[in-house]
Symmetry: C2
C-alpha cells in the first residue's frame, strides 16, 4: 500500500499516516482491516485443530534473524501471516480440542478486545488509565466477593480505597501464585523492632530475625509447577516446596501433611504457607480446603488456594460445595483466561484481608505516589493492559447464571465422557472427574485381563510398553489435527505408585458435543490399529505369554 512505500523513502507525511486512523472504512487500510476480520471469522468457523505440518518445516518460515531493512506493505504481510502463521496455529477453540485449558471464547470478546487494544491504557497508573482503574478495582472486588462473600459495607469500605487492594490483576495464574506467596513471605517477615522487614533487608536477615533455618511451602504432589518457580524466585528453594503425598482421589493426604509439618518444624524450618488446590491441573481434583484451613490456623501460617482452574465452580449452586473452605483462605488465585472464558493474559489473586498486599507495596517519584489510586503500587508487574475490561464484560454479559450453566455443563460433560471411556472395553479410566477434567488410557480388554493375572515385574514391563503406546497415540492424534487430548504421567494407586502415561481431557468448551467426544475415542482406536502399535502389542502378548 502506498503510505508505506512512501514511508520507505523517509517521507514524514507517510510516517504520520501509518499512525493515524483511516477516515473511511473503504480506504485501503479500512479494506484490509475488514478483510482480516473476515478471514478470522472463516478460521474460527473451521473445526480443525491444526493442519498436519511438522514443526521443523514451520520453523523454516521463521528462521531469518535479521530485522528486515525496508518496510513491507501491510497487505503483503497479512498474506504471509494468513498462510504461514494463522493457518499453522492451533485451533484452541475447536470443540475437538479437549487437551488443554483453552476453550472457545464468547464471540463478543473479539470486538471488545479490539476496543481495549485500541485504547491502549496502561493500568499501572491512573494518569494512563482513568476509568479503567476503578473498573479493574470493581472486577477484583467482584471476584473477592465470589470467594469470600463479604458484606456490602465491607466492599463499600475497601473497593476504591487508595491505600489498599483487595487483590492484584496480573497476566496469569503463575504471577498470581507468585504474588500470593511473595505477600505471605513479606508479611511473615515484616518489620518488627530493629528489623526493617525482608523487603528491605533480604531473606538472610529475615531468617536470622525469625531464628529459623528456612521457610517451607507445602502442597500436594499435584501442585502446579508455578509454585516451584515461586519457591525458586523468592529464595525459598525448590527443596522447601514440599510435595505431600496424595490419597487415591488426588487430594492431599492430611495425616501425611501433618507429619511433614512436624518434621520440618523439628528441623528448624518455619512453615510459610499451606497451599490447597481448587482443581488440580492434571486431574481436576479439589483438596480438603476446610481441613487445610484448620491446620493453617493451628500452625499460624498463610493459607493459599490455587483455584486458577476451579475457582469459577463457585458460580454453581449445585457444585460450589466442592470448594467448601476456600472462603477461609488468606489468598486465592483465579484465572480469568480459563473458566471465565476471557482471552489469554488475565489472572488474579484476591486476598481476604485488604492489609495483606501492603507487605509488597512500592512507590516511585514519577508515578505510584503514596496516596494515589495507582494500581501499580500493589502488583508484581509494572505497565499492564486493560484486560480487566474483558472480565468486566464477561461478568456483566454472561452473568452469574450464565457462568453457572457453563460450570454445570462442563462437569456433566466430563461425567459423560468418563462413562463413554468406561463403556469401551479397550480403554481404562484412570482418574474419575470431580470437576471437568479426567484421565484415561488405551489398554485393550485382553491386555487388561492378562495384566491383572501377571506378576508385579511383568505388570511393570507391560506398563512401560503401554506408556509408549499411549504416547504414540497422543502424538499421532495431535499431528493428524482433527481432535486433541493432552497427556501426562501419574502414579495411580492401583499400580502401587508406578508412574504411567495417561491421556488428559479438559471438558470446558461448551461447543464440545457427545458426538465429538465419541469421535475422539474412535480416532484413538483407529490409531491404535496402525502397524507401529500392533507391533508393540505383539511384544506385549509375547511378554505376557512368557511370564504366564
Amino acid at each position: 500500500m502506498s503510505p508505506l512505500r512512501a514511508f520507505a523513502k523517509a517521507n514524514l507525511e507517510s510516517l504520520y499516516r501509518v499512525f493515524t486512523v483511516p477516515e473511511a472504512p473503504d480506504s485501503t487500510l479500512g479494506r484490509i482491516d475488514q478483510a482480516i476480520s473476515g478471514d478470522v471469522r472463516g478460521f474460527l468457523q473451521e473445526h480443525v485443530v491444526a493442519l498436519e505440518r511438522d514443526l521443523v518445516e514451520i520453523e523454516k518460515d521463521f528462521s531469518l534473524s535479521r530485522i528486515p531493512e525496508d518496510p513491507t506493505f501491510v497487505s503483503d504481510y497479512t498474506e504471509f501471516m494468513k498462510e504461514k502463521l494463522v493457518a499453522q496455529s492451533v485451533h484452541t477453540a475447536a470443540p475437538g480440542f479437549i487437551g488443554h485449558m483453552t476453550s472457545a471464547i464468547p464471540y463478543f470478546m473479539l470486538p471488545l478486545a479490539r476496543v481495549m487494544i485500541a485504547l491502549n491504557q496502561n493500568l499501572v497508573k491512573v494518569e494512563t488509565s482513568k476509568a479503567f482503574t476503578p473498573m479493574e478495582r470493581q472486577v477484583l472486588a467482584m471476584l473477592h466477593r465470589l470467594v469470600y462473600e463479604g458484606t456490602d459495607s465491607f466492599y463499600d469500605r475497601w473497593i476504591h480505597d487508595s491505600e489498599h487492594a483487595l487483590g492484584a490483576f496480573c497476566s496469569g495464574g503463575t504471577v498470581a501464585n507468585i504474588t500470593a506467596l511473595w505477600a505471605a513471605r513479606n508479611r511473615l517477615c515484616g518489620p518488627s523492632g530493629d528489623f526493617k522487614g525482608i523487603a528491605q533487608e533480604g531473606l538472610l536477615k529475615a531468617l536470622k530475625h525469625l531464628n529459623c533455618e528456612g521457610l517451607a511451602v507445602l502442597v500436594s504432589r499435584r501442585g502446579h509447577y508455578s509454585l516451584g518457580k515461586a519457591a525458586d524466585l523468592l529464595g525459598i528453594g525448590r527443596e522447601n516446596l514440599v510435595g505431600v503425598d496424595i490419597d487415591e482421589n488426588n487430594r492431599i493426604n492430611m495425616p501425611r501433611l501433618r507429619e511433614r509439618c512436624s518434621e520440618l518444624q523439628g528441623e528448624g524450618i518455619r512453615i510459610l504457607s499451606l497451599v490447597g488446590i481448587g482443581g488440580t491441573t492434571e486431574t481436576g481434583n479439589v483438596d480438603p480446603l476446610d481441613a487445610l484451613a484448620d491446620l493453617a490456623g493451628e500452625l499460624g501460617c498463610h493459607f493459599h488456594v490455587d483455584a486458577a482452574w476451579g475457582g469459577p465452580t463457585l458460580f454453581s449452586a449445585t457444585h460450589r460445595h466442592l470448594l467448601k473452605g476456600i472462603e477461609r483462605a488468606d489468598s486465592v488465585t483465579l484465572d480469568a483466561h480459563k473458566q471465565l472464558y476471557v482471552p489469554m493474559g488475565a489472572g488474579m489473586v484476591v486476598f481476604k484481608d485488604p492489609e495483606t498486599l501492603s507487605s509488597i507495596e512500592h512507590h516511585a517519584a514519577y508515578i505510584l505516589r503514596k496516596g494515589s489510586k495507582d494500581l501499580g503500587s500493589h502488583t508484581l508487574e509494572g505497565s499492564r493492559p486493560g484486560m480487566a475490561m474483558l472480565v468486566h464484560a464477561g461478568l456483566a454479559i454472561i452473568g452469574r447464571k450464565g457462568y453457572e450453566l457453563l460450570m454445570d455443563q462442563g462437569i456433566e460433560r466430563a461425567r459423560l465422557f468418563a462413562d463413554m471411556v468406561e463403556a469401551r472395553e479397550d480403554f481404562e479410566l484412570v482418574t474419575e472427574p470431580e470437576l471437568n477434567i479426567l484421565t484415561y488410557r488405551y489398554n485393550p480388554a485382553w491386555l487388561q485381563q492378562a495384566m491383572a493375572a501377571a506378576d508385579t515385574e511383568t505388570q511393570r514391563q507391560g506398563n512401560e510398553i503401554l506408556d509408549q503406546i499411549n504416547q504414540h497415540i497422543q502424538k499421532r492424534q495431535r499431528e493428524d489435527g482433527k481432535t486433541f487430548v493432552s497427556r501426562t504421567r501419574l502414579a495411580p494407586g492401583r499400580y502401587r505408585g508406578e508412574i504411567i502415561t495417561v491421556f488428559r481431557a479438559v471438558l470446558a468448551n461448551p461447543l464440545t458435543t457427545g458426538e465429538i467426544l465419541e469421535s475422539v475415542l474412535d480416532e484413538q482406536c483407529q490409531i491404535a490399529g496402525n502397524s507401529a502399535i500392533t507391533a508393540m502389542l505383539d511384544d506385549l502378548r509375547l511378554l505376557l505369554s512368557c511370564a504366564a
Copy 2:
C-alpha cells in the same frame, strides 16, 4: 439480543450461540461488532486527552461488588462501556499526551491484534501455539541480533534450539528485569560440588556456599522501580539494591560506583550485578555502558542493561552510538510496547549467552517436557498470549528504516521542545534531552533572577513554593484534558542536590507536531495565570523581598 435472553432461561442452544462465530456480518452480533469498530475509530480520531471528570465521580459507575445475577444484552453492555468506560478513559494516543511512555500505535496493529486475540494461542507450549512458537523465537533472535549483532551461523545454531533460549518474552519490562536478575542470581549460585544450587536449596544455603553476607545489585539513582521489586522478590532485599550517585547528566558516577563496590565487598557482600540504564525513565539519559562493562568484567559479575525505553535507538545509524557498550551486556531488557509501538503487554529480555536462561529452566509432566520446544520452560510467566506476533508484524511492516525514522524524529522533536522551553523566559529547562525525554519547570523570569540573588535558605523555601506551583499546573492541565505532561521529583546539580518538582515530557508520538508542543507550553502559562497560582507567586515575592 435474543441469544442472551434465551441464555438466561438456561437454554443450551443459546449458550452455544454465544460461543460461536456469527455466520454473516449483518447478523445482530455482526452489526454490533461493526458498530463498536466504528466507535473506536471515532474515539481515536478525537484529539482530546480525557474528559474532565473527577475520579471519585467515575468510581460511582464501578461500585457494585456483586456479580450481576442475570445476563445482559451485548448491545446494552456496549452502550454502558462507551459512555462510562471508553469516554472516561485516557486518550494515550493523543499527540498532546506527552507525559508518559504511551504513544499512538500504527493502525495496522488493530486488525492484527484482533487476529491474535481470536486465535487465543497459549505460548507456554507448542501444543497450544504451534507456529507461534518459532515465530516468537524468531522475534527474540531478531532483537538479540539488534543488540548483539551475532553472525548468521550463531543464529542458525541457536534460534530454534529446544534446550536453549536467546531470551524470554514477557508481559513487560518489569518481568524482563526480574527475569534477568533471577537468571543472574541462579547462575552465580549454581550447583557446584555438594551444593545443588540456589534454585533447589534456597538463598540461605547459597550464601553459605558462597561464603558471603549477601548479594548486591548496583544501579544509578535513576534506576527503574522494578529493580527494587526484583531485589525484594529475589530475597536480596532493597537495601542491597544500591542506588549510586549520578553526574550532572543523570549518568551513573563511575568513581562513586567503584567506591561502593569496594565498600560492599569489604562488608562481605558479593556483587551480583551491575545495571546500566539505556534511557532512564525520568530523564532519558544513557549510562556509560562501556565503562560499566569494563567494571563488571573486573568484578566478574553479571552486567544487565535496562534498555526498556531506549533500546530501539539501536535502529538509528545516527544515534546508536549513544548505547555503545550494550553489546557487552549479559542481558538486556527491551519493551516492545514502548518504542516498538506495539500495544501494551509486550516486553523482552535477551541474553548474550544462550546458556544463561538454563539457570531458571523448569519442567512439568504434562507440559514443558525436557527436549520439547515449549517456550514456557524458560519464562517467569506460565500461560501467555501471542503478543510476539505484533512485534513480528511491526518489525516486518515498519522495517529497520521505518524504526530508524521514528527514533530520529523523536530525538529531534525532543531537541525542538527543549529549544522552545529555553526560548520562553518563564520556563526553566531542568534536564537536556539526550534521547527523547526532557524535564523542565515553570519558573517566571523575575523569580529566576530573584532566586539567583537569594541566599540558600530563601532558595530552598522558594523551591518549595515553586514545587507546589508546578504540581498545581500539572494537575490542572491533566484535569482539563487537552494536553498532558507528567511530573516527577529530581535533584539537579544546580540546586545543590535539593529535590524539586519538574514536568516530564516524553516525545515518542510521531503525530506530535511543533504546534502541539507550543500549545502545551501555552496552556501551562495560562494555568499559571489563575488566581491560586498568582496568590502563591505573591507569597514568593514577599518571601524574596523580606530576604533581600
